[in-house]
């Protein structure tokens, strides 16, 4: 117990005290809230509400509606944070080279054959979770992370070598990632750019028609609610998350001899 530890303990107990007081004095609402907060209730009410068309997003899953419609800008930024972290990973590990023929075989044949069966199933389940995000629990990010599990499984069981031979290289994943992000940005701008030349009012990230703008994304496809742009966003987000996280996994799996190559790419410090 040196002086630093005591100071730390004191400040942390202050934090605990403050937060506990906040909770027990009902600062975060009554301790057993029986009602929803009015804002939460507004979201639940408006999320699927064709009877009040100017505020709805035609999504049965309220969380997805909030994520991609009511608070779509947050999610756009969140996607960019993921993009920035991939770029940051590339900054730290730039200059690596993907070497094949390092002779790492992966696990036994039994686990390989099991993986061959399982991996496509996981990917399909991920895609289904993503594109049904507005109907059932799920969404682009959920689907993407589920699918990444398949990719990491393949890396673990078959080794990185297998992915390279299948043509999955980091630069291709990066390209896929950038294209997905571009598609999301274009989708968010689509209604606004359609409206602008004809001088019709439309908003960035707009999904359904509003009181002061008549443009709308397609709401229903063959009797199934499509929730307009939410479907598209989920699809693109799936691509982004899958490619981005697989990229990150591949970067961290890089073998020692591959990592050595980043030393050769050293630059002058200025």
């Amino acid at each position: 117990m040196n002086r630093k530890d005591i100071a730390l303990a004191l400040s942390l107990s202050l934090l605990v005290l403050a937060l506990s007081l906040t909770i027990s004095l009902e600062g975060l609402g009554p301790i057993v809230p029986r009602e929803l907060r009015p804002l939460g209730a507004s979201f639940v009410q408006n999320s699927y509400n064709p009877w009040n068309a100017s505020l709805t997003s035609l999504s049965l899953n309220v969380v997805t509606a909030i994520v991609w419609d009511y608070r779509g800008l947050d999610t756009l930024y969140e996607t960019l944070v993921l993009f920035a972290s991939i770029a940051a990973t590339l900054v730290v590990l730039r200059g690596y080279s993907e070497l094949s023929g390092l002779g790492i075989k992966g696990l036994s044949d039994v686990s390989k054959s099991v993986t061959v069966v399982i991996a496509p199933l996981i990917v399909v389940y991920g895609i289904a979770t993503a594109i049904h995000g507005h109907l059932t629990p799920g969404g682009g990010f959920q689907g993407g992370t589920i699918a990444v599990v398949a990719a990491t499984l393949i890396i673990a069981v078959f080794s990185l070598e297998y992915l390279y031979r299948r043509g999955v290289s980091t630069s291709r994943l990066m390209l896929l990632r950038i294209l997905g992000l571009l598609a999301i940005i274009l989708t968010s701008l689509s209604l606004a750019s359609i409206g602008m030349p004809s001088n019709v009012n439309a908003y960035i990230l707009q999904n359904m028609a509003k009181d002061d703008s008549a443009l709308s994304m397609p709401g229903v496809l063959f009797d199934t609610p499509l929730a307009g742009s939410i479907f598209l966003y989920n699809l693109f987000e799936f691509i982004i998350v899958f490619s981005g996280l697989t990229f990150a996994a591949m970067m961290l799996v890089l073998r020692e001899s591959e990592l050595e190559s980043i030393k050769e790419a050293a630059e002058v410090y200025e």
């Binding site: 899953n61 629990p137 959920q142 992370t145 589920i146 996994a249 961290l252 020692e256």
Partner: protein, 87 residues
């Protein structure tokens, strides 16, 4: 006898939240980083259970792949590439 069924989730919530405090304590104390990673993974399972009981299926779907799949795997790789014991 509706009531008896309804108390079960609350009991599990109390149990898992108290256990998660203990887990965090263990993670802080554990010197073997590999075991600490496994403890974090276990904690992730409890958290997913809590998300499920707190009626957040979207978060369960996100949290299980992230905390039980991707993060521990990357951490195992990192520990394998660096060092295993905290000194």
């Amino acid at each position: 006898m509706q009531i008896d069924v309804l108390i079960i989730p609350y009991v599990v919530i109390i149990y898992s939240s108290l256990l998660s405090v203990f887990m965090t304590y263990l993670v802080v104390r554990e010197r073997d980083l590999l075991i600490a990673t496994i403890l974090t993974l276990t904690q992730g399972v409890f958290y997913s259970l809590l998300y499920l009981l707190l009626m957040a299926p979207d978060l369960v779907l996100t949290y299980i792949p992230v905390s039980v799949g991707v993060t521990p795997l990357l951490l195992f790789l990192l520990v394998k590439k660096t060092e295993r014991f905290e000194r």
